[in-house]
């Protein structure tokens, strides 16, 4: 019967423990390196084909951050963040209202009543050659 000597036992166990330590350390390192921070919001939103938005339409896009308005003159995106303190506005048939502090804006984003004093931010959106609408975040 072959008995492992004390010396060999310690040698095997030491090597096993060091290997386990290495694996644990490697796992920690991989976890550290693999940490994904908060993903930044996209800077450009693909809104799909322009023909998806009929003339006269008003469509919330980009998770409600913008109202895409299709007028005769073209497309305009209105930022639905209140210019007072940044609360997300609630769109209505006559414009936008702020659920936080009660500011009201008309359909074009002009202030009807405060506390907001600045017009809603907006920018035109041009379709590309393929008729695709891309919205640069603003």
């Amino acid at each position: 019967m072959n008995f492992v000597s004390r010396r060999d036992f310690l040698k095997i166990m030491t090597e096993a423990l060091l290997a386990l330590s290495g694996l644990l350390g490697l796992g920690g390192l991989l976890r550290f390196l693999g940490y994904a921070g908060e993903s930044k919001p996209p800077q450009v939103y693909d809104l799909g084909l322009a023909e998806s938005y009929p003339p006269g339409s008003r469509t919330l896009v980009a998770n409600g951050q913008y109202m895409l308005v299709h007028k005769q003159a073209g497309f305009t995106a209105i930022n639905t963040s209140c210019t007072h303190l940044g609360c997300r506005l609630t769109p209505g048939p006559d414009g936008f209202s702020c659920p936080c502090h009660g500011s009201h804006f008309d359909l074009n984003g002009t202030v009807l009543s405060g506390p907001a004093v600045k017009v809603l931010n907006s920018q035109t959106v041009e379709p590309d050659r393929d008729g695709h609408l891309f919205l640069q975040a603003f």
Binding site: L10, M13, S21, L24, L85
Partner: protein, 414 residues
């Protein structure tokens, strides 16, 4: 040597396993990136169960740190809370400017009625100037009742009351032992300090003393951890954590609680010898008393009676005059903003509301087509109607408008 190496390997494994265990015990971080700051914070990892503090302060817009301070990325509770402002109460007056201030928030201009913090800090509720002056006068420490001291030193460079500043009251400088006793026993009813440790006094300090009402249920075991609300719908029970809880005994310089704790508001809530009309025990204090009366008007006042000005005639008028009224024609009128914050009434352009002699809107009181008025309880939402004195059978002398004259006929039997 080989044994030492083995033991070192064992210790290394144990250390690594412990590190992994500690790491895995950490909660899965939940993040919010408020639009106002754009900076990610992990507070909701542990506090996701807190209710939204108010519709005006949604967490996705404000987050937590802009008001509370704290270490926004820390997942360890002690570290996360280490730099919080005011502990659990960022509205404590020692930190309120940093927590709640800002031009667009609560330290803006008087013209826009956004100077809440400046007004509160010079208000009687914060300075306690009247009580201090009365006590010092009573015990011969000053020759008159002029306000000299406040709880904290305050200044008012544009004083309309003739009081440009108050020095900080320092009881250790007083020679009369009664004034030192007064400081020890009686300085618990102002916004800078925690109240006496009694259930019925339980409230926060600062803005939250009024705007974070604690229900009687919540008060049973002190302030619960999950109180997270700000409101302008303030019930009379919150006002009574300071007001109407007993009497000062000038002989012993102690505050004597009333024994008749409230069960019926009419029968035993108020001072036994006092008289009250129906509205005084039916409405909440804030239904009639105004922002300036409660939070100050920006000037330093000598005592409470100098800032309280709403009377019966403010709403009911006199035999010769209707109450002052204003028809709302401007969508930016302050009345709309206040009604938006506490939507017990659906105000519209063209509505006529009562205004006080100082021009403050009593936005919860609207003129009806038949000449009567409807009033909505700010804390209850209840609707009440009433008529003006003018045209009634009232025999009151027009020059006698203090409430005790009205009580002669209108006080209820108790």
């Amino acid at each position: 040597m080989r044994l030492s190496l083995f033991l070192a390997a064992v210790l290394l494994v144990i250390a690594l396993l412990m590190a992994a265990w500690v790491e895995n015990r950490r909660p899965q971080a939940l993040a919010v990136t408020p639009s106002l700051t754009g900076e990610t914070e992990f507070c909701i990892t542990c506090h996701a169960d807190l209710n939204e503090i108010s519709p005006s302060h949604p967490v996705e817009t404000f987050g937590c740190v802009i008001c509370h301070g704290g270490e926004r990325l820390a997942l360890d509770a002690d570290l996360a809370h280490s730099s919080m402002r005011g502990g659990a109460n960022p509205s404590d007056l020692s930190v309120v400017s940093e927590s709640c201030g800002g031009e667009q928030c609560h330290s803006g201009s008087p013209a826009e009625a956004r100077d809440h913090i400046q007004r509160v800090q010079t208000s009687i509720q914060a300075t306690y100037a009247g009580a201090i002056a009365n006590m010092r006068y009573t015990y011969g420490a000053q020759p008159d009742l002029n306000a000299i001291f406040g709880i904290q030193a305050v200044q008012d460079s544009e004083t309309a009351t003739g009081i440009p500043a108050l020095a900080a009251f320092d009881p250790t400088q007083e020679n009369n032992p009664s004034l030192q006793t007064f400081a020890e026993n009686c300085l618990y009813c102002h916004l800078y300090v925690e109240p006496l440790d009694r259930q019925e006094y339980t409230r926060f300090t600062g803005c939250a003393a009024c705007h974070t009402p604690l229900t009687d249920h919540a008060k049973q075991d002190g302030i619960p951890d999950d109180v997270h609300t700000l409101t302008t719908a303030i019930p009379y029970t919150q006002c009574n954590t300071c007001h109407n809880r007993g009497n000062y005994d000038l002989r012993s310089m102690t505050f004597t609680e009333r024994a008749d704790h409230p069960t019926s508001r009419l029968e035993d809530y108020y001072q036994p010898i006092a008289q009250f009309t129906q509205c005084e025990y039916t409405l909440d204090c804030v239904d009639c008393h105004t922002r300036q009366e409660a939070m100050g008007d920006g000037d330093i006042h000598a005592n409470q009676k100098d800032i309280e000005y709403v009377q019966c005639q403010t709403c009911h008028g006199t035999l010769e005059a209707l109450p002052a009224m204003q028809t709302l024609t401007d969508p930016n009128d302050l009345a709309f903003r206040l009604a938006f914050l506490n939507p017990v009434i659906n105000l519209a352009l063209g509505d006529t509301i009562i205004v006080t002699p100082k021009g403050e809107p009593l936005w919860n009181i609207r003129l009806l087509p038949d000449g009567s008025y409807e009033q909505f309880g700010k804390a209850t939402g209840h609707r009440f109607t009433f008529r003006s004195v003018m045209g009634s059978n009232c025999q009151q002398n027009v020059d006698e408008q203090e409430s005790h004259y009205c009580h002669e006929c209108h006080a209820v039997e108790r």
